[in-house]
């Protein structure tokens, strides 16, 4: 009893403390975001990570990933059920949830919000999410270059069907077994009717349906101050009573604010990778992974056509040394990030550092003609350093003549898109939903969204489609692993390393750090 009383007393004592720089009660936290301030809050029109991070506090998803098991669990959805082929998905909502304006949250809100986003002429950023849904093309007709896109006569996705107040179904263009996982994306959260009618009027006074709402007016240049919304009845609510997001275009400034004790959470900028453990000896943490990084071949350049040559390049790279140079990085031995269900640590057969074998493979491939151009991003502080490190390995181990070309990253991608890039470049990818499929489809499917190499293999496309049509998740993962094997055999891009994120947090919070969901300051426990 005494112990219990002591705990209660200390908890009360905590309430009066001002704790860090946060305002409000004891359970309040200030999260620093190293980016330009948000200009509006609308999850459907924001795919930037700062925007999504804020939206996650104000909008609840249909489903989410359990941080302990990695399994998908329902939040606002009561059930998400695929048909036998995984082509039509029925989504049933839990009853009794509302928007922050008091209106009940219905299936119609989802269907109408999704239609609004899917209409290409609205130019909303999460439009692409719906490209898998039947009827997307009618809302996004091809516009000839330079022409004015006209609003389409069709305003609704033919694949979306309202069944009753709380149920709707989504018919996809082709079967897709991972669709249920994609529903955890905050970028598809619904907007209430009054916002849908005039989204611009609500840019700075969003109406959410999640655990937090704006604490007051939010003007340009202000921090985003959120308080707990009493009306939220769903699961998965964070512990904090109040959350403030502060924006810092300069990551080093955010770091200094943390050291001064005015923010509770900050991500470590690249300049502090060497010093953050001594700067905050009791308050640092690292995530398992934040995506994977690659070295990309241009498939359109015939000099890189030989598979043996690509394997030779891969085996001439000392990944351990390279990962050390990057810092907080793990050498890759496969194409997917290590925090994925279905990741295999030994997936790659051509990723061990073996100079003799690399030389032999290059010889068998008939050598490499001309200088090897390595393109790097000039606006990244490390671009040139990484390029030269890899270039030196290839030069020393394979005797290649290496040249370095620095350009803006948008310029490099433009060259690659028009198939004019005559050399190798770096790329990285992080998943939008936790499935190894979200690495394989974007990067290796013909015309995939992030097919950096311009790679195409009909056999791989066919295998991917098989995985997509497999309703059993375990089986699907096995098929996707075969896809990964195939991609490694062809090796349109060389796996390099997966980077870890590093973060600092104040003594009063313990941010969630899960292998499956990464580091989430919003889900901090309070001491």
């Amino acid at each position: 009893v005494t112990l219990g009383l002591a705990l209660v007393l200390s908890a009360c004592g905590g309430n009066s403390g001002n704790g860090g720089g946060a305002s409000g009660g004891a359970k309040s936290e200030v999260i620093a975001i190293s980016a330009d301030p948000l200009d509006y809050i609308n999850p459907l029109n924001d795919n930037s990570s700062p925007g999504i991070q804020v939206a996650q506090a104000m909008f609840a998803p249909l489903v989410t990933t359990d941080p302990n098991t990695g399994k998908t669990v329902n939040v606002l959805a009561e059930s998400v059920t695929p048909d036998k082929t995984s082509q039509t998905w029925t989504i049933k909502l839990k009853p009794g949830n509302t928007f922050q304006n008091g209106q009940p949250l219905t299936a119609k809100d989802y269907v109408d919000s999704w239609n609004l986003t899917a209409e290409g002429s609205n130019a909303w950023k999460n439009n692409g999410f719906f490209s898998k849904v039947e009827g997307y093309d009618a809302l996004n007709p091809q516009t000839p270059d330079g022409a004015t896109p006209k609003p389409t006569a069709v305003k609704t996705l033919s694949g979306l069907k309202l069944i009753d107040d709380l149920t709707f179904s989504v018919k996809l263009k082709v079967p897709f077994s991972q669709f249920g996982l994609t529903l955890q994306y905050t970028g598809i959260a619904p907007l209430p009717e009054e916002v849908r009618k005039n989204p611009d009027a609500y840019k700075r006074k969003p109406i959410g349906n999640g655990p937090y709402k704006l604490a007051g007016d939010w003007k340009a240049g202000d921090d985003i101050k959120l308080v707990k919304w009493d009306g939220y009845k769903g699961p998965n609510a964070p512990e904090a009573d109040a959350v403030t997001f502060r924006f810092f275009p300069n990551g080093d400034t955010a770091y200094n604010e943390f050291l001064a004790g005015t923010v509770d959470f900050v991500s470590v900028p690249s300049t502090k990778k060497k010093s953050f453990k001594t700067d905050a000896p009791d308050g640092w943490m690292t995530s398992t992974s934040s995506g994977a990084n690659y070295f990309v071949f241009p498939s359109w350049d015939p000099r890189f056509k030989s598979t043996k040559l690509r394997h030779a390049f891969s085996e001439a790279i000392d990944r351990t040394a390279f990962a050390n140079l990057v810092g907080l990085a793990t050498p890759s031995n496969g194409l997917v990030s290590p925090d994925m269900d279905g990741y295999r640590a030994d997936a790659c057969k051509y990723c061990t550092f073996d100079v003799a074998k690399a030389k032999q493979l290059l010889q068998e491939a008939g050598g490499f003609s001309g200088p090897l151009n390595i393109y790097y991003n000039t606006s990244s502080a490390t671009g040139q350093i990484y390029a030269e490190a890899l270039g030196n390995m290839l030069r020393q181990n394979l005797g290649l003549d290496v040249k370095y070309v620095g350009k803006q990253s948008s310029e490099i991608s433009a060259l690659a898109d028009s198939r004019k890039l005559d050399g190798m470049r770096f790329s990285g990818w992080g998943h939008d939903y936790p499935s190894i499929e979200d690495y394989l489809t974007p990067m290796f499917k013909s015309n995939g969204d992030a097919n950096f190499a311009g790679y195409s293999n009909p056999a791989l496309d066919k295998l991917l489609a098989e995985g997509d049509a497999q309703p059993d998740q375990e089986q699907a993962i096995k098929i996707y692993q075969q896809v990964e094997d195939l991609a490694l055999e062809d090796m349109p891009l060389i796996p390099l390393y997966s980077a870890q994120g590093a973060y600092l947090h104040s003594a009063k919070i313990a941010p969630r750090n899960s292998k499956f969901t990464g580091v989430q300051p919003l889900y901090s426990t309070f001491k």
Partner: protein, 308 residues
């Protein structure tokens, strides 16, 4: 004076057009697709790209894009940036921030520059003069980046005398540290110019004449040396003031002050020709205005350059 002002304003119009057109051309010529820059790593569907290109007139020819931007500026329809920020809102937020930062920064810069310059000029080749020369050299050699972060660390993080960054504490607290930093990095030029000017003026014939007439040293100094020495100094101060209105990009970034400099930086990064032209026009107007003021002050100091 009115005619002089009118003439100057009329002359400024063609210059303004040339300057803004030149700036717009430079942004236009920058490599890379602005919307792609905005998208980051994630792909944007073609239909969304087409709608955005249309919204911001990115398909129009260069000259049409420029004229549309100018039209928006003069009709006050600023619209939004590529990333969706309301430009009028941004100006309302940022112009006061930049003005506060600029005036506070220049206050320190001018006080330090003039005091050191005057003192060193009058007592040239003394120990203090030599030390000041050395100090200005050191300041000129320190990169702003190093000084700003050092200042932030010492006074914000370590001593906690002043806020680390941001404008939450308002004027003057939020602006003191960046303003002093701007003052330190900027005063050296002014100090050296003031010193040299005074040395030059003090050696001029009219000073010898004044001395020969038997005037007191104080009178010579204040009535004869100073007015003549101050002409180039006033010019430099005017240029400083006009220039700083373009935004102190580095100070704003490190001290997280949402001023015009950061806005300009973002706009250039995203190749937003319209915003860049808008901000250049603002800076240009400020430049013209301040030049006028400088010319009028000139007239007051020195009758020789007084304009009819």
């Amino acid at each position: 004076v009115t005619r002089f002002v009118l003439r100057r304003i009329l002359a400024a119009i063609p210059i303004g057009l040339i300057v803004t057109l030149g700036v717009f051309a430079l942004v236009f010529a920058m490599p890379g697709d602005p919307l792609r820059e905005l998208a980051g790593d994630k792909p944007i569907p073609p239909s969304v790209l087409a709608a955005k290109r249309d919204q911001f007139h990115l398909n129009a020819p260069f000259l049409i894009q420029y004229l549309l931007s100018m039209k928006d500026i003069f009709t006050g329809h600023f619209g939004t940036t590529f990333s969706g920020a309301d430009i009028a809102d941004q100006l309302r937020l940022r112009i006061p921030v930049t003005l506060k930062l600029a005036t506070t920064g220049l206050f320190f810069q001018w006080i330090a520059g003039l005091l050191f310059g005057l003192y060193a000029g009058f007592r040239r080749n003394g120990i203090i003069d030599r030390m000041l020369l050395l100090a200005t050299l050191v300041v000129l050699a320190i990169p702003g980046l190093v000084l700003y972060f050092a200042g932030q660390y010492v006074f914000g993080v370590d001593l906690k005398w002043l806020p680390v960054s941001g404008i939450a504490d308002g004027w003057p607290m939020s602006y003191l540290l960046p303003a002093v930093c701007i003052g330190i990095t900027g005063f050296a030029g002014l100090a050296r110019l003031t010193r040299t000017s005074i040395v030059d003026a003090a050696g001029a014939d009219f000073v010898k004449t004044a001395r020969a007439k038997g005037l007191g040293e104080q009178r010579i100094l204040w009535r004869h040396v100073l007015p003549n020495a101050l002409l180039p100094v006033v010019t430099l101060m005017g240029i400083d003031f006009a220039g700083i209105f373009g935004g102190a990009v580095l100070a704003e970034s490190i001290f997280n002050l949402p001023g015009l400099g950061q806005f300009m930086f973002q706009a250039i990064k995203l190749k937003e020709g319209g915003v860049v032209v808008l901000l250049s026009t603002l800076a240009f107007l400020m430049f013209i205005l301040i030049n006028l003021v400088v010319d009028i002050i000139y007239g007051a100091i020195d009758p020789r350059v007084r304009n009819g």
